[in-house]
C-alpha cells in the first residue's frame, strides 16, 4: 500500500496547478481571439472540472464545453422503451444503476418495476450472467449501456459463453463518430477536443488521428486528476495556437497510441457499428454498438418480438418537452440555460437523463453548486 503521505499531490499540487493555469492564460491570450472553445466528451471530465472547481482557474478567454460524454444520457427513448417492454412482458431486466430512472417515451424501468416488472441493478455484466444462472426458469436480459470501454466487458462475457436464458439488449455507444457529428454541428465553434482517457485506454489514441486530420482540429487524450485536465488543456491550446491538427496523449500512464489490442479484438468480434439516434443530439452514423449476426441468438432484439408501439403513444409530458438535455449534450447549451434546472428538475425527480446519471452535466452541476464560475468572485 502506498504511503498516503503525499505523492498524490503530484496530480493535485496547488503550486503546479497555478503554474499550469498561468501558462494556460498566456497560451489562450496568444491564440489571438476569444473565446477559445474546446470540448470534452466524457462525463468524468466534467465531474473532475466541477468537483475541483477548475473553471475558476481557467482563463476567462477559454470556454470548456461539455459534449456527449454521458452514455446514459444519450440512450434514446426507444431503447429504454424496449427494456421497459421486456420487463413488462415478464422477463428479468438487469442493468447498470443509472439506467433505471432514465425516462423512456412514457415509462422508465423504475416505472415498469412499480407495475410488477422484474428489474435488477448490477455493477458488472458478470453479475447479470450470475442472475441468469441463479434464475434458470426466467429469461434474463442485460440492458447494456456505456461506451466502448464498457462494451468490451459485455463482449468478454459473451465470448466466454453464457447460459441459454441470457441475452443482451445493447444500448452501447461508440464515441468517435459522435465527435464527428458534434464537430460539424451548426452553431458549434469547437476548436479542439479533450478525449476520454479510459475509452482511449481501449481504442488507443490513434483512433482520433483520422478525425483530427479530417476536421482540422487537435485532440488531446486527458486523464481525470486536476493537473491531468489542466495539463491537457494547456497542450490543446498550444496545438490550437500553432494550428496543428494533431493528436497528443497527455495520459500516458494509462493510454498508448495503439490501445488495448486484445480488448479491441474482443469488442469487434462481438459488436458492429450501426447508425442510430443519440437522444436529443442527432442521428449518429456508426454511433451504436450492436451485436453482430453471429451473436443473433443472444440478441434480445431478435430473441423476443419487441412491440414498443404502445409505449410511446402518449406525448412526452410538458416538462419533458422543455428539457434541453440534448442541446447540453451537443455542447450548444449548459445546465444553467435550462429553466427547469434546480427547480422542476432535481436529482430526486429528474425530468431528463442529464439529471439522472452521475455523468450527466445537470446532475454534476447540481451536486457541485450550479454554475461554478468562481472567476466572477475572484475579480
Amino acid at each position: 500500500m502506498a504511503d498516503p503521505g503525499l505523492d498524490e499531490l503530484k496530480f493535485r499540487d496547488p503550486a503546479r496547478a497555478r503554474a499550469l493555469s498561468a501558462a494556460l492564460a498566456r497560451e489562450v491570450a496568444a491564440v489571438g481571439h476569444e473565446p477559445v472553445s474546446v470540448m470534452h466528451v466524457c462525463g468524468s471530465h466534467e465531474q473532475s472540472i466541477a468537483r475541483f472547481g477548475l473553471r475558476a482557474v481557467f482563463p476567462p478567454g477559454l470556454q470548456v464545453v461539455m459534449g456527449p460524454g454521458c452514455p446514459v444520457c444519450v440512450t434514446d427513448l426507444p431503447e429504454v422503451d424496449e427494456a421497459v417492454a421486456l420487463a413488462l412482458a415478464g422477463h428479468r431486466v438487469a442493468t447498470y444503476g443509472d439506467m433505471v430512472k432514465v425516462p423512456g417515451s412514457a415509462r422508465s424501468l423504475a416505472d415498469a418495476e412499480a407495475e410488477g416488472g422484474k428489474v435488477d441493478v448490477v455493477y458488472s455484466v458478470q453479475q447479470a450472467v450470475e442472475l441468469a444462472r441463479t434464475h434458470p426458469g426466467e429469461e434474463v436480459v442485460f440492458f447494456a449501456s456505456g461506451f466502448e470501454t464498457t462494451a468490451v466487458a459485455t463482449a468478454a462475457v459473451l465470448l466466454n459463453g453464457v447460459p441459454g436464458n441470457f441475452s443482451v439488449l445493447s444500448a452501447h455507444k461508440y464515441v468517435p463518430p459522435a465527435m464527428e457529428v458534434v464537430a460539424e454541428m451548426p452553431g458549434s465553434h469547437i476548436e479542439g477536443f479533450l478525449a476520454a482517457g479510459h475509452a482511449a485506454a481501449i481504442t488507443g489514441s490513434a483512433v482520433f488521428e483520422p478525425f483530427a486530420a479530417k476536421h482540422r482540429v487537435p485532440v488531446v487524450v486527458a486523464g481525470f486528476e486536476p493537473l491531468d485536465v489542466l495539463a491537457a488543456l494547456l497542450k490543446l491550446v498550444e496545438l490550437i495556437r500553432g494550428k496543428r491538427a494533431e493528436v497528443a496523449n497527455m495520459y500516458p500512464r494509462v493510454v498508448t497510441r495503439e490501445g488495448n489490442r486484445p480488448a479491441q479484438e474482443k469488442l469487434w468480434r462481438v459488436f458492429q457499428l450501426v447508425g442510430g439516434r443519440w437522444r436529443g443530439i442527432a442521428h449518429i452514423p456508426d454511433g451504436n454498438l450492436r451485436l453482430r449476426d453471429e451473436w443473433a441468438h443472444l440478441d434480445a432484439r431478435r430473441r423476443f418480438s419487441l412491440d414498443i408501439s404502445g409505449l410511446h403513444d402518449r406525448a412526452p409530458s410538458g416538462l419533458a418537452q422543455r428539457c434541453i438535455c440534448g442541446e447540453i449534450m451537443a455542447g450548444l447549451k449548459q445546465p444553467s440555460d435550462c429553466e427547469l434546472f434546480g427547480r422542476e428538475c432535481l436529482p430526486d425527480s429528474p425530468v431528463g437523463a442529464c439529471m439522472v446519471s452521475s455523468e450527466g452535466s445537470c446532475k454534476i452541476w447540481h451536486t457541485y453548486g450550479g454554475l461554478p464560475d468562481l472567476r466572477e468572485v475572484r475579480r
Binding site: A2, D7, G43, Y123, V152, A153, R253, V254, T367
Partner: protein, 111 residues
Amino acid sequence: MCLGVPGKVLAIDGMEATVDFFGVRKVLRLDIVDEPVTVGDYVLNHVGFAIRRIPPSEVGETLALFEQVLKEAAQDDLMAADVRGELAGLPGARSDRARAHGSTPAAEEKS
C-alpha cells in the same frame, strides 16, 4: 462509469484474479487486460474487468490518488461514488441490489 480503480493482484486462478483494493479483496476478470498479469502487479478495474496493467513506475502515484479520492469521499461526491460503484461491481462483491432511489453507486455504499 468511465472511472477506473486500481488494485494489487494477490492471486490468479485462470481468468480471475483476487485483487486488493485499499484493503478490500475482490475477484476481477482478466479477459480484457492489455498484457499478461502476474501476482504483485497492479491493474485498473472497469465494471469488474481489469482493462489495463499499470506500469510499476506509475503505481505509487495512481494508488495515492485513489486513496485521496476515497478519503475525501463525501455523500454527494459523484467521483467517489463512482469509485465505490466500481469496487462494488466486482464479480466477487456482494450483488445486493442497489434498489434505490439514488440509483447511483453511492446507494450501495453502506452494504
